[in-house]
């Protein structure tokens, strides 16, 4: 086993690449014909997407009655998926903005990809609140548009906060991502020999010319946007958690929700980024740019946030007992030992137990185990949202109306479809735009900056 010296910071980019090598390595996926493996991946993901599209079309035609929702479980897969996907998105902003503010240089290799993933995940997430209204063609009224009824939206409702939070998050993430892309697009514009690509890159790069007078402002706006994105990302999952916490249902009405949701979001998001990056660095040979050190650092973040999530699970039980509120303690006992105990224990084992393996350096640094743990974390985090939403609703205040939620094939179809949509977008992205920021990786090379005298 190779020993790692933790006292020195490892090089962000390994294998002594030159500036030109970086151009080559990063733009190669865009300039070569895709492999069979690529088409296979695209085929699988678009099949999932198609399944989702059919389930969704049927839902739109016949209504949400096709889903397994009932009285009192009026929220189920739709909201579970929404929270899950928004959470996935949060890792991207954390990597691109928060780690940028903390001057973590290892983020450079994965920031672009993570940001793109944020956008795709938020797009996928945004679908669910829209379809769960049942008549999505009327969703325009979620925004304060002047209308013939002279009615306005209710600004005191957490669901409206959600509309603002998620749409702002999507817009700001997009701007952040696009600003980062402009110099890379300019580089590609200068590289390409194809006429069509040249036109596309010229339009998208806006005629950027790598001027240092521009870079000067550019660095400033990057800082500003990172500064805005940081509180924004925290606010988004806080507001998502308000959807529950502001209600008065036992099991939802707790003050721990905002930090607990944010930690959970980062946790699952990192797992997803790690999973996809492992695949990409393998397929496109980017092992020197997306290094093992980076992956190890991500695993450490997962370990830390996993512990936070575990703490929140424990604390919820403690407060349920300590508050002396019988309804509250009933809900939590019911979670662990009641009708959905199976979901609860899937959640606990995936999120809290398996991640403890990351205490071992060997596991943190070997690809297959960490990939498996990443997948488990995502399963666990999906079930966490399921447990929160469904157990609470299925056992509400009135025992006569208790019911058990069973998903229908349409629920499952739409869930698969959401994965299909996300991965199709990711797979298309990795061949159309540079997955790694050329600019940022170049700027952290060893010889890239002038030595100060």
């Amino acid at each position: 086993m190779n020993q790692i010296d933790y006292s020195v910071e490892p090089d962000v980019v390994q294998g002594s690449l030159s500036q030109r090598d970086i151009n080559e390595a990063i733009s190669k996926p865009l300039e070569t014909k895709p492999t069979k493996l690529y088409y296979l991946a695209l085929g699988i993901s678009s099949t999932l997407l198609l399944i989702g599209a059919i389930s969704l079309a049927l839902t739109l035609y016949y209504g949400v009655g096709l889903w397994g929702i009932n009285q009192p479980v009026g929220w189920a897969f739709d909201i579970v998926n929404f929270v899950f996907w928004v959470g996935i998105g949060h890792a991207g902003t954390l990597i691109s903005a928060i780690l940028f503010l903390f001057r973590q240089r290892w983020r450079t290799g994965i920031a672009r990809f993570a940001e793109a993933m944020t956008i795709f995940a938020v797009m996928t997430a945004g679908l669910f609140p829209l379809i769960h209204t049942g008549r999505p063609w009327l969703d325009g009224y979620l925004f304060p548009v002047p209308n013939q009824h002279h009615l306005w939206i209710n600004f005191t409702s957490p669901l409206i906060w959600d509309v603002f939070a998620v749409s702002t998050y999507l817009t700001v993430s997009f701007v952040f991502w696009y600003i980062g892309l402009i110099p890379d697009l300019a580089t590609l514009r200068e590289r390409t020999n194809s006429k069509v690509k040249k036109i596309i890159y010229s339009i998208l790069s806006l005629g950027w010319r790598h001027s240092n007078r521009h870079w000067h402002h550019y660095e400033m706006i990057y800082l500003i946007l990172a500064g805005f994105a940081t509180p924004l990302v925290l606010s988004v999952h806080t507001i998502v958690s308000f959807d529950f916490a502001v209600s008065i249902l036992p099991g939802w009405h707790t003050t721990i929700f905002p930090p607990y949701f944010v930690a959970g979001a980062v946790f699952s998001g990192f797992a997803m980024v790690q999973n996809v990056l492992i695949v990409i660095r393998k397929i496109f040979n980017l092992q020197n740019i997306i290094t093992l050190d980076t992956l190890e650092k991500m695993n450490k973040v997962m370990l830390a946030t996993g512990l936070m999530v575990g703490y929140a699970y424990g604390m919820e039980f403690f407060i349920a007992w300590y508050s002396g509120n019988p309804l509250e303690s009933f809900v939590f006992l019911n979670r662990a030992f009641g009708n959905y105990a199976w979901a609860y224990w899937i959640m606990v084992s995936c999120n809290v137990i398996f991640t403890q393996l990351f205490w071992f350096k060997k596991i943190r640094r070997s690809i297959v185990p960490m990939f498996i743990i990443g997948v488990l974390v995502n399963i666990g985090m999906w079930f966490e949202r399921f447990v929160i939403v469904v157990t609470t609703l299925s056992r509400d205040f009135l025992p006569t109306s208790w019911d058990y939620f069973v998903p229908t094939i349409y629920d499952i179809g739409i869930l698969l479809g959401s994965f299909g949509l996300f991965f199709t977008l990711v797979i298309l992205f990795i061949r159309t735009l540079p997955v790694v920021s050329i600019t940022e990786v170049k700027s952290v090379l060893k010889t890239s900056q002038p030595v100060h005298h």
Binding site: Q19, G63, I224, E440
Partner: protein
């Protein structure tokens, strides 16, 4: 080509450390129109070029503050002025509940606004026609070189002098950057017929789509599921009842809640003498009467009661309501016709409340007076 103009002279370095002294030198010599190009921001260059502190922070502050004030105005005006709603017993202006929206609008405006100002106002992008784009120089700069350009429009520009300065610093390459006059002069024409045709097509397509969507698509399933529900609408027949009427008639001998027993059944003359209209002929009551008259009576009796039925002979035309006889009838007598009907005219008792019947009587009186105005009415 002879229409080539010199944009400037450039030199390229492979090592950023060699570039830095040249940057300092050029700045010290007092050049104005010059620039350094590199594929990523180089540390120390802004200082060496003596670039001013970027104003973007202030711009973000201004946009952020306007986002916050807009949000505050929007939430305050909609929730406590334009359509005040009490939700959860909270005051109309419940600031804490508006904070999330305020925050999001602040961030949204600040980031999008700053980005737009930077790209389109400060950088004056998009600018693909800049002479530097599409040159050998740009190609090299964007891959592994660092470049410096002195533009020919600089007041101190002197080709040979600059080249000799460059040479002192041993660049990998020195090159001229040329552009074509035509390329820069090109201005898109607004009144080009192709462009106008394009606009026309776009607007026609948009309106066609809007028309089609609003008038056709929204009436197709599933969008019309709320419009067509499994329920009986007024005047529809139904096989559920033996008389095939969808609308039901009150059981014989019952009096609806809020209604009084009508004592003058079959005694029109008595009704005429005993019933008195207690309703004030106020504007409000006349409006009510007009509305009810137009709904229930006008199909047969005509908008102004002249007996000009709109039923096109499907039903015998009723007499005019302006006859001598009717004008001399007491109010109670007309009221009685509404309650009981008369010969083939059906009863309207179950469709109109007592107040509405009297309001109709008032309205008929107003109609009568307007068509048979006396001299003194005109004053």
């Amino acid at each position: 080509m002879d229409d080539k103009n010199l944009f400037g002279v450039a030199c390229l370095f492979k090592d950023p450390n060699k570039l830095l002294p040249l940057v300092k030198k050029i700045r010290e010599l007092g050049f104005k129109n010059w620039d350094v190009h590199s594929a990523y921001p180089l540390h120390g260059i802004p200082k060496a070029m003596r670039l001013k502190w970027s104003p973007l922070g202030y711009i973000a502050l201004i946009f952020g503050l306007s986002g916050a004030s807009f949000g505050l105005f929007l939430t305050w005006w909609t929730m406590s002025v334009d359509y005040p709603l009490i939700i959860g017993g909270k005051p109309w202006f419940s600031f804490p509940a508006f904070v999330p929206v305020l925050f999001e609008l602040t961030v949204l405006l600040a980031s999008v606004g700053t980005a737009i100002v930077m790209l389109f106002v400060i950088f004056k992008l998009p600018n693909n026609r800049h002479p530097l784009n599409d040159t050998e120089y740009m190609k090299k700069v964007s891959s592994e070189y660092y470049g410096l350009v002195v533009e020919s429009k600089d007041p101190n520009f002197d080709y040979d002098r600059i080249v000799s300065i460059f040479k002192e610093y041993e660049p990998s390459e020195i090159l001229d950057i040329n552009y074509q006059e035509l390329e820069l002069k090109y201005q898109p024409k607004v009144f080009d017929w192709k462009f106008i045709l394009f606009l026309v097509i776009i607007s026609a397509a948009t309106s066609a789509f809007a028309y089609f969507y609003n008038n056709k698509v929204l009436y197709l399933p599933p969008f019309d599921f709320m419009l067509n529900q499994f329920k009986l609408k007024p005047q529809e027949s139904s096989t559920l009842f033996s008389d095939n009427f969808g609308m039901r008639i009150p059981v014989a001998g019952t009096v609806a809640r809020g209604e009084k027993f009508y004592p003058f059944k079959g005694k029109p003359e008595e009704a005429g003498t005993k019933l008195v209209n207690t309703l004030e002929p106020s504007e409000e009551n006349l409006k009510l009467g007009q509305q009810k008259y137009n709904t229930f009576c006008s199909p047969c009796h005509g908008w102004r009661g002249e007996g000009d039925s709109r039923l096109n002979g499907q039903f015998p035309n009723p007499p005019s309501l302006h006859t001598e006889k009717l004008r001399n009838w007491p109010d109670g007598r007309i009221y009685h016709v509404i309650v009981e009907g008369q010969n083939i005219m059906p009863s309207y008792a179950r469709l109109l409340s007592e107040k509405e019947r009297w309001a109709i009587v008032l309205y008929i009186r107003a109609l009568q007076r307007s068509l048979n105005a006396k001299q003194e009415d005109l004053q």
